[in-house]
């Protein structure tokens, strides 16, 4: 059953074409990776999938909700955007309280405690977000995306600024999440992590999907590294 459908989606910004008739489908229970060079259109596609911006043409759904209803899309998914932007003047604890309140989480204190513990942020609970390090803000953004237990995660560079310990923790959590029936759509440049996690991938270049399939399908030969696949598809 598809949880993301993208049909012939195009998008321009002031005359610059970011996406050309992109089509793809992500099935429930997949760990889907989207890769591409800088400026290829990855973040634009994620922003369309999350309902943050509209497409110029084409249609699609995310977690069963049409993009024309961005509030419903956001209700059903967890999102980690490209840049970590928690509210400047709230503390880490207050940020998660706000998220729980907006999302109607039943047991906020318990969930906040759980995720603060997961990310080793207990001591930073009462620190203003403006004074957190980039890595701590990223952990907070991840916690905010996971705290309501969504079935679909849309992650744009989720490992950025995380130290190796927490890269591993997040990786293991995401793997368990998918094994438990959840779906992940992830953009990343860290191909080693993607290779270990993704069940299906797509490569986007200059706004077009230039390759898509399971890791075996995109590999030309057995054992070809994802990095080599990426270079081959993009350079072609």
């Amino acid at each position: 059953m598809p949880v993301i459908t993208v049909e012939n989606v195009s998008k321009s910004f002031g005359g610059v074409k970011a996406l050309y008739e992109v089509s793809l489908t992500v099935e429930a229970g997949e760990f889907f990776g989207l890769f591409g060079p800088n400026g290829a259109g990855k973040t634009t596609l994620v922003r369309i999938l999350t309902g943050e911006i509209g497409s110029d043409s084409g249609a699609g759904t995310t977690a069963g909700a049409p993009w024309s209803d961005p509030m419903e899309v956001k209700r059903r998914v967890g999102i980690v955007p490209e840049a970590e932007t928690p509210p400047t003047f709230l503390t880490a604890q207050e940020t998660l309280e706000l998220v729980c309140e907006i999302r109607g989480v039943d047991d906020p204190e318990e969930r906040i405690g759980e995720w603060m513990g997961f990310f080793g942020m207990e001591e930073k609970r009462h620190v203003l977000c403006r004074d957190l390090s980039k890595g701590q803000r990223q952990k907070l953004m991840l916690a905010a995306a996971l705290i309501h237990g969504p079935g679909l995660l849309l992650l744009d560079e989720p490992f950025i600024n995380l130290d190796p310990i927490y890269q591993r923790r997040v990786r293991e959590h995401l793997r368990g999440f998918v094994e438990g029936g959840g779906t992940v759509f992830m953009c990343t440049h860290i191909l080693e992590i993607a290779e270990r996690l993704c069940t299906r991938v797509a490569v986007i270049d200059r706004g077009r999907i230039v390759g898509e399939g399971t890791l075996d399908q995109v590999r030309r030969s057995e054992g070809e590294a994802l990095e080599d696949v990426f270079m081959r598809l993009v350079e072609a």
């Binding site: 955007p81 509210p87 003047f89 940020t95 999302r103 004074d131």
Partner: protein, 487 residues
């Protein structure tokens, strides 16, 4: 280091400043701004013989130099911006000022270039148009162009003095609270020696003004030296290394949310807004935004009384209407804290946040304006007019809030610089405000007609506010949270 890199940094900063203004005001708005300053100054200078005819020249000069000093004080708080840039706590905005983080260049040097850039930019952007505008009406007032030129020079020096003072204070603030307190005390004592002690003349403290006592060039030289000294001291006080503090804070969100639970979905957003308002230090400026224009009214009354020899009296209804109009400053301030980009990934729309801001706006404006109007009613002995005054205040507050939120959403500070938006705002808000003010003037001579006019206008704008408020959802739901409004 040779001067070459500094020139390049200066050019980059000038470009950056221009583009920053363009991102706030739009290309047209930023080009038009100096022209607006010029037109405003020309209008003032042409009408000066009428308004300022009876006022002693030195008092007019004092006002002009105080204005320039105040402008400089506003521009010069850059030391604080420097600290924000160096500690990477200015959100998504990165500036050339931050290059010492990565490049082998001293922060003090870059800060000095930034200081010069600000002075040059603001002189080109506003002070020169202001002086040119003043030159338009000067012949009519019998003032030579040479005198206008001299006035431009002393106003510039007053501006530089203001910049120097506020830069020094902001640098001291970063260095040490004790140092800041000592400097403030020194400044306070200096000002007190002029007002109210009268031990010094204003021009002996504000040296550019002193030039006009006897056209003594020594005042020009010494004021230039003071401005340089202040800026140099500020630069020397700047740190080369900054360490971002890590501040913990007492939890506020949950208790506030508990008190707002009856507001349903809006409660969480409103609690967030309130916490940000408190922690962002904006509560003071919001109240000051209310008080400062009232000081301007007082100055207007003084000018008209002293200049035209006509004693003007404003009753409490006038103040009620005017304070309602001033609500725009409150709405603007509460939009000035956070761009809310975080909410792009939550099931919350810009329209929801606009509605939460409006609730906060109403809470702040109603409480402050009611206290203000009742206070004026007592002071003027006009308790009988309080009902009408409160109606004028309430209706204008609601209407101005509705119109401002409809036209500017979460980007009031930038969108009101857009000539098109500003025109719409003026077309919507000024006519009813004028009608209320006219009604306030009529109360003495035709009380029944004035009351009827006031009640009619208030009812009309309250009724007009309803569809405007209802339209906020459709107007803003498609927008995204961003630093500048790029829907």
């Amino acid at each position: 280091m040779p001067l070459g890199p500094e020139l390049l940094i200066f050019k980059s900063m000038m470009r950056e400043e221009w583009r920053l203004h363009k991102s706030f005001q739009g290309a047209i708005g930023s080009h038009v701004f100096p022209a607006v300053i010029f037109a405003f100054s020309a209008f003032l200078s042409l009408s000066a013989p009428l308004i300022l005819g009876n006022i002693e020249a030195l008092r007019v000069l004092l006002l002009i130099h105080l204005g320039a000093l105040g402008y400089g004080l506003f521009v010069g708080a850059m030391g604080y911006i420097g600290e924000q840039v160096m500690t990477r706590r200015l959100g998504q905005v990165n500036m050339v000022l931050g290059i010492p983080r990565l490049l082998p260049v001293s922060f003090r040097r870059v800060m000095a270039v930034f200081y010069v850039k600000d002075a040059v930019y603001y002189v080109l952007y506003s002070i020169i148009p202001l002086v040119l505008g003043a030159a338009v009406g000067a012949p009519l007032a019998g003032v030579s162009l040479l005198t206008v030129g001299r006035l431009g020079l002393t106003a510039f020096l007053a501006f530089m003095t203001g910049m120097g003072v506020s830069f020094l204070l902001s640098a001291a603030h970063i260095r040490s609270r004790t140092l800041l307190g000592s400097l403030m005390l020194l400044l306070g004592c200096s000002v007190a020696s002029v007002w109210p002690l009268g031990a010094l003349r204003a021009g002996d403290l504000l040296l550019p003004l002193g030039y006009w006592y006897g056209r003594d060039s020594l005042y020009l030289l010494s004021s230039a030296a003071v401005a340089l000294l202040l800026s140099a001291a500020g630069i020397l006080l700047m740190r080369e290394r900054f360490e971002a503090p890590q501040r913990a804070s007492v939890e506020m969100f949950a208790p506030v949310l508990g008190r707002l639970s009856s507001l349903g979905d809006l409660g969480a957003l409103l609690a967030k807004e309130w916490v940000e308002l408190r922690r962002g230090g904006a509560l003071g400026p919001v109240v000051a935004g209310y008080i400062a224009p009232l000081v301007v009214i007082y100055a207007m009354v003084w000018l008209l009384g002293e200049g035209l020899g006509v004693l003007i009296y404003f009753n409490v209804v006038f103040y009620g209407g005017f304070v309602g109009f001033l609500g725009v400053t409150v709405y603007s301030w509460i939009n000035n804290l956070e761009c809310n980009e975080f909410l792009n990934v939550q099931p919350v729309g810009v329209d929801d946040v606009v509605r939460a801001k409006l609730v906060l706006y109403f809470a702040l404006t109603f409480s402050v304006s009611t206290c203000y109007v009742v206070g004026i009613g007592f002071l003027n002995g006009e308790l009988g007019l309080l009902g009408l005054a409160l109606l004028a205040s309430f209706s204008n507050t609601v209407y101005v809030g509705a119109v401002t939120s409809r036209l500017t959403g979460l980007w009031t500070n930038t969108m009101l610089f857009d000539a098109k938006v500003l025109s719409k705002f003026a077309a919507c808000v000024v006519p009813p405000l004028v009608a209320v003010l006219v009604a306030s003037f009529m109360i003495g001579s035709a009380p029944s007609a004035a009351a009827a006019l006031l009640i009619g206008v208030s009812a009309a704008i309250l009724i007009a506010s309803l569809p405007i408020l209802r339209s906020l959802r459709s107007k803003w739901s498609g927008h995204r949270f961003s630093f500048a409004n790029n829907p």
